[in-house]
């Protein structure tokens, strides 16, 4: 118990004096996850909207797969990306394995299904409501999609936040494709795993505190967003 208290105090001290090692890790984690979510949103939003609006064979199966993919095991995604990027793999020549880029790719794959599935649901619901109005005014396909995405903006923002929450907290995929190399691919979750096994509880706890704070902040933002939406737009 005394060990834990000492560790916790050291952890808090590390956070308060913005320890450079700690900050380097936090900054890399944020950069990787924010980039992953950015690309996942660029792919997931139009993909979700397209699945919501177009009828094509196999659509229902795709929706089931997409919803299931929200729970993809990160280690499996890590393994697949590892195989693709490893020297013998199809994308091996690019030399991306054990780089932050590989970690962005892995997290992006984990987040796309979350954003796409929630976008599909949002756009489907809104389309049901707006369809006759949009057809009545002769709204074209592109403008219809942008109308639905804009009017679903609050729910979509919540979906993006959920994606960020998954990316920043995930450990399996980035550990496999990043390799947890000091000063290169070491992020919060992988460092916690490593330092805990080494017995360096202070750094692990410090990062844990920051992760929890981030999770709370993300959820608070999501709640504030949906409250605003309800208040203003019913």
């Amino acid at each position: 118990m005394a060990d834990f208290q000492t560790a916790l105090l050291t952890a808090i001290e590390l956070v308060i004096r913005l320890d450079p090692d700690l900050m380097e890790i936090v900054w890399l984690s944020l950069r990787i996850s924010l980039l992953a979510v950015l690309f996942a949103a660029l792919i997931g939003l139009p993909l979700g909207a397209a699945i919501a609006l177009w009828r094509f064979p196999g659509r229902r199966v795709l929706i089931v797969l997409l919803n299931a993919a929200m729970g993809l095991p990160p280690v499996v995604v890590g393994l697949v990306v590892y195989l693709l990027l490893s020297r013998a793999g199809p994308l091996g020549h690019a030399g991306l394995l054990f780089t932050p880029t590989a970690m962005v790719i892995a997290q992006c794959i984990l987040v796309i299904p979350i954003i796409a599935a929630l976008t599909r649901q949002t756009v489907t619901d809104l389309h049901e409501e707006y369809d006759e109005y949009l057809r009545s005014i002769g709204c074209g396909a592109l403008r219809s999609i942008s109308t639905l995405l804009w009017d679903g903006r609050f729910r979509l923002l919540t979906a993006i936040l959920a994606g960020f929450g998954r990316a920043i907290a995930e450990v399996g995929a980035v550990l496999i494709v990043g390799g947890n190399i000091q000063h290169v691919t070491r992020v919060m979750t992988t460092t916690i795993a490593l330092e805990t096994s080494k017995g360096n509880l202070a750094l692990a706890l410090g990062l844990g505190l920051i992760l929890i704070t981030l999770a709370v902040a993300v959820n608070a933002t999501a709640t504030a967003v949906s409250d605003t939406a309800r208040r203003h737009h019913g």
């Binding site: 109005y133 057809r135 002769g138 403008r143 737009h233």
Partner: protein, 258 residues
């Protein structure tokens, strides 16, 4: 009060745009049947509407009034038969019509942006939109609410907004589906007054209602629909004093018809 209003306004400004030769009228429905999933809900509807009258499609709930309006606007395709607006197909003619639904469909945006959305969809240039939005809101008595989120308006304000939105591009024909069915009397009166003003400015009105009192206030001609059949098409005065159809007569007396 709205009763009085409807009578004191000029009967019609008959088809001002009809004389320019590019009007959408006459509307001709030729042996229209509509049977989704094999169940016939509109049966052999024949109809011709030409003058600039206010037409009310009257009938009990489930008569097929809303479907008929949607078919005319091109939102649904008839199973058989032909609809033409001055020779044009329903889909083509829709661009010069406005449509108001029973439940207001409002975008999750500000009141003014709801109007601007239609203008953008119709290709009105950005710099011309503001003035049109303002005029349209003023006509509907909503200018003071321009910056409010549309969905926080009261039911009556919401419906007047959808009417203003449907009219912002100055349509030849305004179609309204039970526009005041879920409103309290004061809000319904405001909606009726707006409809009468829009009609007076030269827009052809075709609306549905199941409310006999409203039909009496607004109708210049009545189309009576029951069980998917068009049973009577008469001038309003004739319809309400001496209906030819027995079911219509009982409906006007306020009896439950089946």
């Amino acid at each position: 009060m709205a009763d009085g209003l409807a009578r004191t306004l000029p009967a019609a400004a008959p088809a001002q745009r009809g004389s320019t030769g590019d009007s959408l009228l006459p509307l001709v429905l030729d042996r229209i049947c509509y049977s989704p999933d094999g169940k016939t809900v509109l049966n052999d509807i024949n109809l011709e509407l030409s003058h600039g009258l206010r037409t009310v499609i009257l009938g009990p709930n489930g008569a097929g009034k809303s479907l008929l309006l949607r078919l005319c606007h091109g939102l649904l395709k008839p199973t058989s038969g032909r609809i033409s607006w001055a020779g044009k197909s329903a889909a083509l003619a829709a661009a010069r019509q406005g449509m108001v639904f029973q439940r207001p469909v409002l975008l999750r945006r500000k009141v003014a942006d709801n109007i601007a959305h239609v203008l953008a969809a119709k290709g009105v240039r950005r710099k011309d939109r503001d003035a049109l939005v303002l005029t349209s809101l003023e006509n509907a008595g909503l200018a003071h609410l321009a910056d409010r989120p549309a969905r926080t308006l009261s039911g009556g304000e919401q419906q007047r907004l959808t009417i203003a939105r449907a009219c912002v591009c100055d349509p030849d024909v305004l179609l309204l589906d039970e526009p005041s069915a879920s409103l309290d009397p004061a809000a319904a009166r405001a909606v009726e007054e707006l409809i009468v003003r829009i009609h007076a400015s030269g827009t052809r009105i075709i609306m549905t209602t199941h409310d006999i009192a409203q039909a009496r206030r607004l109708a210049e001609e009545v189309i009576f629909l029951h069980h998917g059949r068009l049973l009577e098409h008469s001038p309003a005065e004739a319809f309400f004093t001496a209906p030819r159809d027995p079911a219509a007569a009982r409906f006007i007396r306020g009896e439950l018809i089946d």
